[in-house]
């Protein structure tokens, strides 16, 4: 995926001199989102209390917890498409496999501890992504974007049909997870405790991804994004890079999916399937790929609007159409998504050396070398 240089002219009205906006908008957005997530449960509980006793485990907290876990799926998509040129139309495969694996594990062994659920989800996400990635990404000639997109879509579709027909994992009914997950012996029911656990997981996955894409490895990814062939000539083993990122993304998806299954108490064929995979793409494109925070925002907005609008009978019928229309508009006119309205192309690509520019780069997070957060 080669970026055109056309955008640069827009971003820098007066050429190479000081740009008008401070360059580092991304960290501001990230911190704002984090603050929002941390304070939301408290805020919403007070808002909806209606004079009764404060119940922090209310519906709005639980609903948003699900969205936070879906945001992990969105981040995993961004690692693939936003950073490595891998159009994965099947990320839900790893998300759902994580869920199915821990559901079955729990059913067979009765284990419910988060300390097992999380690593199990990560492991099965990593391994399945490694296998799928090996098949899709490794070959003598670099696979085209279309091939990877269709291949991953097919994998997700095939998985959905497979589990829908397999009685051992509940077939069309899916699997109900009866027990609550436990953390250090106590039940973790959906509510404020679970909410903060989800935030913690998203945060850790986010920070790990951020570290990855800002490291020297990330520099190589930035190069691959712009001109793969050039990097091959420099001596980079492209396919190794892609496989590593794809597997890591799978790990995050599996991690999110495992927790999600225990939060919802249910995992079904739809969880591994094409619809969920497509939503991962929508979160990313809508929020703005290549920024990590964009897809998180995308997931929040799309899922949030779905919940809010589902209360309104008329709007509910038209919401999918509206969503589709919005997607078309975003892809056609604002390909960098919501976040792209605020963040320059240059900041999206980032800077990787130990020294940042003084005059030509504008203001900066002073003193902070990239990659250390």
């Amino acid at each position: 995926m080669t970026e055109t240089t056309a955008n640069l002219a827009d971003d820098k009205a007066d050429g190479k001199q000081r740009p008008r906006l401070p360059l580092s908008v991304l960290p501001i957005i990230e911190i704002a989102m984090l603050a929002l997530l941390m304070l939301y449960p408290i805020f919403i509980t007070y808002l909806t209390a209606e004079g009764e006793a404060l119940d922090f485990n209310n519906y709005f907290v639980v609903r948003v917890t699900s969205i936070i876990l879906l945001a992990m799926l969105a981040v995993s998509f961004d690692l693939c498409w936003g950073y490595s040129g891998i159009m994965s139309f099947g990320q839900a495969l790893f998300f759902g496999i994580g869920g199915y694996f821990v559901a079955k594990l729990s059913e067979e062994t009765g284990m419910t501890s988060m300390l097992i659920i999380i690593p199990a989800g990560m492991l099965v996400g990593l391994i399945s992504a490694l296998l799928v990635g090996w098949f899709l990404l490794i070959s003598k000639r670099t696979p085209t974007i279309i091939f990877v997109a269709l291949g991953s879509l097919t994998a997700s579709f095939a998985a959905e049909r497979l589990v829908a027909g397999w009685q051992w994992v509940g077939a069309g009914n899916g699997m109900s997870i009866w027990d609550f997950p436990t953390l250090f012996g106590t039940d973790l029911e959906p509510g404020i405790g679970f909410y903060y656990l989800a935030v913690a997981c998203l945060l850790i996955a986010y920070l790990a991804s951020r570290y990855l894409v800002r490291s020297q490895f990330g520099l190589a990814l930035a190069g691959i994004r712009q001109n793969e062939d050039r990097l091959a000539f420099l001596g980079y083993r492209l396919q190794a890079f892609k496989l590593i990122v794809f597997s890591f993304a799978g790990l995050i998806a599996g991690w999110g999916g495992a927790i999600y299954a225990f939060h919802e108490g249910f995992v079904g064929p739809a969880t591994v399937g094409v619809t969920t995979s497509t939503y991962a793409v929508l979160y990313g494109l809508f929020g703005g790929v290549g920024t990590l925070i964009g897809p998180v925002i995308g997931a929040g907005v799309i899922e949030g609007l779905t919940v809010i609008l589902s209360d309104n009978e008329t709007l509910k019928a038209y919401w999918p159409i509206a969503l589709g229309a919005v997607m078309l508009v975003v892809v056609a006119y604002q390909p960098t998504g919501l976040v792209g309205l605020l963040v320059t192309q240059r900041e999206r690509f980032g800077s990787f050396g130990i020294r940042k520019g003084k005059k030509s780069s504008g203001t900066d997070d002073a003193g902070k070398a990239d990659g250390h957060d």
Binding site: E3, T5, L8, K12, G15, K16, L212, S215, Q216, F217, L219, A220, A222, G223, Q226, N227, D229, R230, L231, A232, F233, L234, G235, Y236, R237, L238, A240, I244, Q345, R346, F349, S351, F352, G353, I354, R355, K356, G357, K358, S360, S361, G371
Partner: protein
């Protein structure tokens, strides 16, 4: 004639594109620390030959041998790891990254995966980046986006990137294309110092430029070697003069 083994030896190279025979039985020998030019009229197969040496195309017949090793079927990445570097005809710098980052990208290419993930060499390579920036007169542009520089500057960055990993042989495909005369002169100045550690094979249309910096030349015509030798020999060669006056 040099008595030592040539660094690069191309023997009987042939390349066919469908029904078109682009190269036929081409032999080239390039010695270490020499600058070797490839010239010839349009369509003579100069670029094809260069790409076959680089690994961008694979030869259909014949052999490419580099530093004693047969690299005919190796991928560009593998050749690059052995010290054979290519600069493209079309600028292939990374336009969205800064000049600094472009060079860092080139310099870190041979780091291990772990090293890259942990950013182990970031500190150490900073000095190398600054050195190269100085060498190629790009220090002031260190934090400009590569895509925003003039064409000439972008070419120099490209050459710098190709040289980043201290290759033993650098292949340049029309490096002065689109440059002003002043830029051409600077290019020649920038290239001269690398002779100490690197040989050069350069495809060019600008005969003056080639005669200035190269030691030896190979002249191609319609996919075959017409003549080769030192610059002086070729200048005096009647065969070559004929070709250049009768063909476009």
């Amino acid at each position: 004639m040099a008595m030592t083994e040539p660094l690069l030896k191309v023997s009987g190279l042939g390349k066919v594109f469908g029904t078109l025979r682009a190269l036929n039985g081409v032999d080239v020998a390039v010695h270490a620390n020499t600058f070797h030019g490839l010239i010839g009229p349009n369509g003579s197969g100069k670029s094809t030959l260069l790409k076959a040496i680089a690994g961008d195309h694979f030869a259909d017949e014949g052999e490419v041998s580099f530093a004693g090793e047969d690299v005919t079927t190796m991928s560009p990445a593998e050749r690059s790891r052995r010290g054979l570097s290519l600069k493209f005809q079309i600028t292939a710098i990374l336009p969205e990254l800064t000049v600094y980052d472009n060079l860092l990208l080139a310099l870190q290419a041979h780091q291990s995966m772990w090293g890259l993930l942990l950013s182990r060499s970031r500190q150490r390579l900073d000095a190398d980046v600054m050195d190269m920036l100085a060498q190629f007169r790009l220090t002031g542009k260190a934090h400009s986006l590569a895509g925003e520089m003039s064409h000439g500057e972008q070419q120099w960055l490209e050459i710098a990137m190709a040289l980043a990993l201290k290759p033993k042989l650098l292949l340049l495909d029309e490096p002065t294309g689109g440059m002003s005369p002043e830029e051409r002169r600077v290019t020649g100045e920038l290239l001269e110092p690398i002779r100490d550690y690197c040989a050069l094979v350069i495809v060019e249309h600008d005969l003056d430029f080639i005669k200035d910096i190269c030691d030896n030349l190979t002249v191609l015509d319609q996919g075959q070697v017409l003549d080769d030798g030192t610059v002086a020999e070729i200048e005096g060669s009647t065969k070559v003069q004929e070709v250049y006056t009768t063909r476009v």
